[in-house]
């Protein structure tokens, strides 16, 4: 029997680990690497088979899912308002510093229009006509 078939039979529960070991003779000896895999499986099942959740935990979970309050709590849209938001809602709208009188000098200064300096156009001729050879005619 091929190694892969052997493992399949073992995982399907048709073979025990000892049977598989007996089968691993002759050409199938190459598949001896399957034995540690079977050992890992055996140990894992041996140790985790008796893992017990707390008593009544599964029933509590079902109750959580079926409880009538669920629709009001879990599916309610996030309409809760925080404490800070409540304070802001009570206060009249005001921008900090908006009520302060503006001084005369500041108001005059604001009237002066700021004009952006004109751009000086530079021609690209110089760079375009830059020589790529030196005086002797050799390339740089």
């Amino acid at each position: 029997m091929k190694g892969r078939d052997l493992l399949r039979d073992y995982l399907a529960g048709h073979l025990t680990r000892e049977d598989a070991q007996r089968e691993l003779t002759g050409r199938a000896k190459e598949s001896r690497h399957l034995l540690p895999i079977m050992d890992a499986d055996r140990h894992g099942r041996h140790f985790l088979s008796d893992l017990q959740p707390p008593e009544g935990a599964a029933e509590r979970l079902t109750q959580v899912i079926l409880s009538p309050d669920l629709s009001s709590n879990v599916f309610r849209e996030n309409t809760q308002v925080g404490r800070l938001q409540k304070i802001f809602d009570l206060m009249p709208f005001d921008v900090v510093g908006a009520g302060r009188p503006v001084s005369k000098s500041k108001s005059k200064r604001s009237k002066i229009k700021k004009v952006a300096p004109a751009r000086i156009r530079r021609s690209n001729r110089k760079t375009a006509n830059r020589k790529t050879t030196n005086k002797k005619g050799k390339r740089k």
């Binding site: 894992g44 893992l51 959740p53 707390p54 599964a58 979970l61 629709s71």
Partner: protein
């Protein structure tokens, strides 16, 4: 989205053929194929079905939480939080036959979120627990090995971890795992083989073998 046509225990969806678990009531599969996107709150019969499925496979989900928190009450809390998350997103589940794998992913993500959140109750990190001294009683030693094994399983990719959990915790064979996860037998075999190979190389299982054999 192409509509699903029920054919006995099989559903054809375009070219693919998906095996449907016989446990899913027709009413529920109909809700998933038609009304799930419209209903914001799943109806009672869907919640009832979900509750039943989770209750039947509770050990599987508890194992995920226990592997992360190493504490029964934290693990239970994590599974409950995951259940609430799952309820909120139940209409996003496209194939009800894959509900186990879907909920296992949610549980795992919830555990990781709780561990990352500094304000959560889960104060003990994995490292602290693994370094904590084990008492000499046989039960305590066994519990420590269980924890270590679950930690190793949690390190696997989720698609392999769920297969191993079903194998180790519920002692399922290939056919049963395939049926419960809505997968093909060959897929399960490949995943289980890969996962067991990784586990066999893990220092935890090597130490376990040396100690007990």
């Amino acid at each position: 989205m192409p509509s699903l046509r029920l054919q006995g225990d099989r559903v054809s969806k375009g070219h693919e053929e998906i095996r449907i678990s016989p446990d899913i009531p027709e009413k529920v599969s109909e809700w998933f194929s038609t009304a799930a996107t419209a209903d914001r709150i799943p109806p009672f019969f869907v919640r009832e079905w979900l509750g039943q499925v989770l209750q039947e496979n509770y050990r599987l989900f508890y194992g995920i939480g226990y592997g992360y928190f190493h504490d029964p009450s934290y693990a239970e809390d994590a599974v409950q939080s995951a259940a609430l998350k799952a309820l909120q997103r139940l209409r996003q589940l496209k194939q009800p036959q894959t509900v186990l794998a879907w909920f296992a992913s949610i549980t795992r993500n919830t555990c990781l979120d709780l561990l990352r959140n500094p304000n959560s109750r889960a104060a003990e990190s994995l490292d602290e627990v693994s370094c904590s001294p084990a008492s000499n009683s046989i039960d305590q030693v066994r519990i420590d090995w269980q924890r270590k094994l679950l930690v190793e399983i949690n390190k696997l990719p989720e698609n392999q971890a769920i297969v191993v959990r079903l194998r180790f915790l519920d002692d399922c064979d290939l056919g049963e795992i395939a049926e419960r996860l809505g997968l093909r037998k060959n897929t399960v075999e490949v995943r289980l083989h890969r996962a067991l190979e990784k586990l066999s190389h893990s220092p935890c299982l090597r130490a376990l073998k040396e100690e007990y054999l």
